[in-house]
Symmetry: C2
Subunit: 202 residues, 2 copies
């Protein structure tokens, strides 16, 4: 049971707890399949949610941005964060309006992030972010200059207080509704890549 | 200029303001293309972010859920919300690690939601949510019972304090880097539907 994140008051899934997961393998798989997270924090007592790219690096989520980015400044200052990653896997068409749903995999992380300032660790994190866009990319592109590194803030959020929630499969209709002459099922959805578009030389 | 949301202190985009948009057409188009939003609110002084399906209905965002859902309870009680919708459109591969990016369209909404309790308006909202999953669906499925309606909370968040942010196009490299022998360009990404999977009768 070492591989399980202990549910806390905040991460314990209350609605439909049968869809919750707290094991590292599920959490990591969802995080590794996503590209964008939503970072929530409190600013002047009010909620702010900002989308940003991320990568999982070991047992932490890593985000980066301009060193003057307000989200990163707030996060780097130790503000409490709630970060959500959601993958939409399908539309669930039931026989009743009420049971329509979506299939998804989501992870919610609570915690405080810390800036990665050590130059070597910062490079490792930036490499991971770049390789997430395309594996092998780091070796072929121009590496960051000292000025670029200084202009980039990199933060890590430990995967300590984490939960996952997953819905899969077809609709769950009321017993009486299965006899209705209505098509029911799932329309799978996936984020898919199109043909690459080469950039014209500048 | 009636079609423009006046930027507020919270919605004015500070990082890369050239990517910001405040016009109704852009905001509506992004919201109408998305299926899942991330709802942020403050609970006991701490941020919470929860993904949920939504639909735009006129000048409001509509979400729904079980009437005991904690996000909806908090939101329905007039809690301040920040709701973000993000569509990932592509991976941007630059000639330098630093200029790698993603193409996206996002909308951020600040405000307070109110429950839709009028039975007729509630049905209109639920119909819009169902039709968002598949146009024409409402007419063919079993409509909600009184019990189902009572178990469903529907909230609307007015589109008053709203901003959009959009990145499109290829990488923007440093002048000196265009001579590097590195493939650069965009890998388009889109959420695409697969072949429908019919549900086995129960």
């Amino acid at each position: 049971m070492e591989e399980v994140f202990a549910p806390t008051e905040r991460t314990r899934v209350r609605r439909r707890p049968q869809r919750a997961a707290y094991d590292r393998e599920t959490v990591h798989a969802i995080l590794d399949a996503g590209l964008v997270c939503h970072v929530g924090f409190v600013e002047h007592g009010r909620p702010v949610v900002i989308p940003t790219a991320y990568v999982r690096l070991g047992d932490a989520l890593v985000v980066h941005g301009h060193s003057r980015n307000r989200t990163l400044l707030a996060a780097g200052a130790g503000t409490e964060l709630c970060v959500a990653v959601t993958l939409l896997d399908g539309l669930v068409l039931a026989r009743s309006a009420f049971h329509h749903s979506v299939n998804y995999r989501s992870v919610v992380i609570f915690g405080r992030a810390t800036p990665i300032t050590d130059p070597d660790r910062k490079l490792v994190a930036l490499r991971a972010l770049t390789e997430r866009i395309q594996p092998g990319r780091w070796a072929v592109v121009r590496p960051p200059t000292q000025q670029e590194l200084a202009a980039t803030a990199v933060l890590e959020l430990p995967l300590d207080e984490v939960s996952a929630k997953v819905r899969t499969g077809g609709p769950i209709d009321d017993a009486d509704d299965y006899a209705l002459p209505v098509w029911a099922g799932v329309i799978p959805l996936a984020l898919t890549a199109g043909a690459p578009i080469a950039d014209a030389p500048g």
